[in-house]
Amino acid sequence: MVAEIKQTRIKEMKIELAPLLSIRDLHVWYELRRLGFGHAGYVKAVDGVSFDLAPGETVAVVGESGCGKSSLMKTILGLNVPTSGEVVFDGRNLSELKGSDLRDYRFQVGYVQQDPYGALPPFMSIQKILEEPLIISGMKDKDARLERIRKVMSEVKLYPADDFLPKFPHMLSGGQQQRVVIARAMLRAPKLIVADEPVSMLDASVRVEILKLMHALQAEHNLSVIYITHDLSTVKYFSARIFVMYAGNLVEKAETRRLLENPLHPYTLALLAATSDPDARNAESFKEVPPGEPPSLVNPPRGCRFHPRCARAIAGLCDQQEPPDFEPEPRHFVACWLYRPEEQEQ
């Protein structure tokens, strides 16, 4: 069924270039305290994540709530301090940046929030909202600021700009609000955009418009984009690669087309099976859903974190040892014992 999927628009991966963003064995743990004092363990939100992102490359991080994708995103934005591991952006380690260097880093990374209405201060006009990042970045000339704002607003198709500038967020529709959020992220000409479920709060008819807009901006400015989502059906329109995240780990990493045509990890298979396309025949059958719920990140299960829910778990292996990344086909990585090399030779 998934084999029919053809991928046309996604550009070739730029694997040869030096990575823009490189994440090495990243762990983000939050300490739990009992009544504010005694140590009571850690929430292991991100637990050993590594990947490279080339300039101009788009990846989607797909996972359910509580899998650690927001913690991963916040760490990349410099809002969380990693417990261990490295985030290297453009050759510089994020943990070594301080003061104005850290501020410069943040100018190079744009953030598109999930809920546009929540992300825009309700008491500020669009003009104020968009001027603020420019003022903070030291652009003193008001005309220059307005010129930059107008240019970005035309890029996100908010025109005529002068109609929008004096308005307040509540006067705009959801789609327009999300364009303002995107414009704000684009103001400082970033190299990387982190988009956290940018369309999940929008109506179906507007969703595609925003995704197409982001795709056009990405292509025009050769942006790297990390697109965080739970909706697999939108991913192929936007991203060259997909990372599937489960309980703090990336369990499968592959090119979008490869992953959708030949998903390997049992969790990826479950996600794909649970995604519906509108079809009246859906009502005639039940969906196959793995039993149980994602594990607690305080005490994740031993071995593979998906094994308690996995129908193909190998007793004595999956419940004992954490699977490393295997590469059963070129550039398709999967952290699952089913794909260990001996298994394939048999």
Binding site: I5, A204, S205, T234, T275, S276, A280, N282, A283
Partner: protein, 321 residues
């Protein structure tokens, strides 16, 4: 359309619910008609602000204070429930015949009561059951919705979102109503949990023969349960028909464009979007409410479009007249 109210479960005719606000009258539900047979599910699909949640409120007569007009006919099992007094409605219709799973129901559970007691309460109030009987009923409902029995004694905070949603569903089921109105039952849930809840709804429909009105904006998920589909736009239903006819070939231009905006996982399609915005429910245009965004707009569209019947499908559009 010749209503024979006694044969059907539900017949809604010209239902109107307008609200009074500081800016003017919001015509949230403005002349809605639809029918539903027993053991069937109708999906009411629409985008935010089209009046679909107000329709749910109008069905159950759960009205806020600022109602300007509330009229129309709702026949439930042959009885015009709109003619009943508030007291009769509360005793004989709400919960007993028709119950609601409101939007974000999983967050509406009382945090200081055990979920078992909360599920049992409607049975005690509406069926006059003793507490032990009601708890027994609650236990049976938990089996239907797939919640382990020992969860009866837990508090809401001890349950995951998906489990709480099932509890809310069990609460709606406990009085064995013929009809359940579900307002966005899966919108705040994860993908796998959504699939699970849809499975539960399908099972209830088969096992208990309950009918559903599923109000949602999620087109792909709605197809999991739909026998019939009604498309709502700016306070009105613009198209209604069987799911098997609707999904492959919607009739109304809005339905067509809405369907074309859905990204598909399993086939290569280039999704489109609809330019413009829906009209304000305070200041509605004359004639067809979709005309301003419609690529097939004609002169006639400035007049109120007729409801055209094609077999067992209905569409409110001049193109099909």
């Amino acid at each position: 359309m010749n209503p024979t109210p006694t044969k059907q479960l539900l017949h809604v005719e010209d239902l109107v619910l307008h609200f009074r606000t500081g800016h003017g009258t919001v015509q949230a539900v403005d002349g809605v008609d639809f029918d539903l047979d027993a053991h069937r599910a109708v999906v009411i699909l629409g985008e935010s602000g089209c009046g679909k949640s107000s329709l749910a409120k109008a069905m159950l007569r759960l009205l806020p204070r600022n109602v300007e007009s509330y009229s129309g006919k709702v026949f439930m099992q042959g009885v015009d429930v709109m003619a009943l007094t508030e007291e009769e409605f509360r005793h004989n219709v709400r919960w007993a015949a028709m119950s609601l799973v409101p939007q974000a129901a999983m967050n509406a559970l009382n945090p200081v009561l055990r979920v078992g007691e909360q599920v049992a309460e409607p049975a005690m109030v509406h069926l006059g059951a003793k507490k032990a009987e009601a708890l027994d009923l609650a236990k049976r409902m938990f089996q239907h919705v797939g919640v382990p029995e020992d969860f009866l004694n837990r508090y809401p905070f001890e349950l995951s979102g998906g489990m709480r949603q099932r509890v809310a569903l069990a609460m709606a089921l406990v009085t064995s109503p013929a009809l359940i109105v579900l307002d966005e039952p899966t919108s705040a849930l994860d993908l796998l949990t959504q699939a699970n809840i849809m499975n539960v709804l399908k099972r209830i429909k088969h096992e208990l023969g309950t009918s559903f009105i599923l109000i949602t904006h999620d087109i792909a998920t709605s197809s999991e349960l739909a026998d019939e589909v009604a498309i709502m736009y700016a306070g009105q239903i613009v198209e209604v028909g069987g799911a098997k006819d609707f999904f492959p070939a919607p009739l109304h231009p809005y339905s067509q464009m809405l369907m074309a905006s859905v990204p598909h996982l399993r086939s290569e399609s280039d999704p489109m979007f609809i330019t413009g915005q829906p009209p304000s429910l305070i200041d509605l245009p004359k004639g067809c409410r979709f005309a301003a965004r419609c690529p097939f707009r004609m002169e006639k569209c400035s007049e109120e479009p007729p409801v055209v019947t094609q077999g067992n499908r209905k569409v409110k559009c001049w193109l099909h007249a």
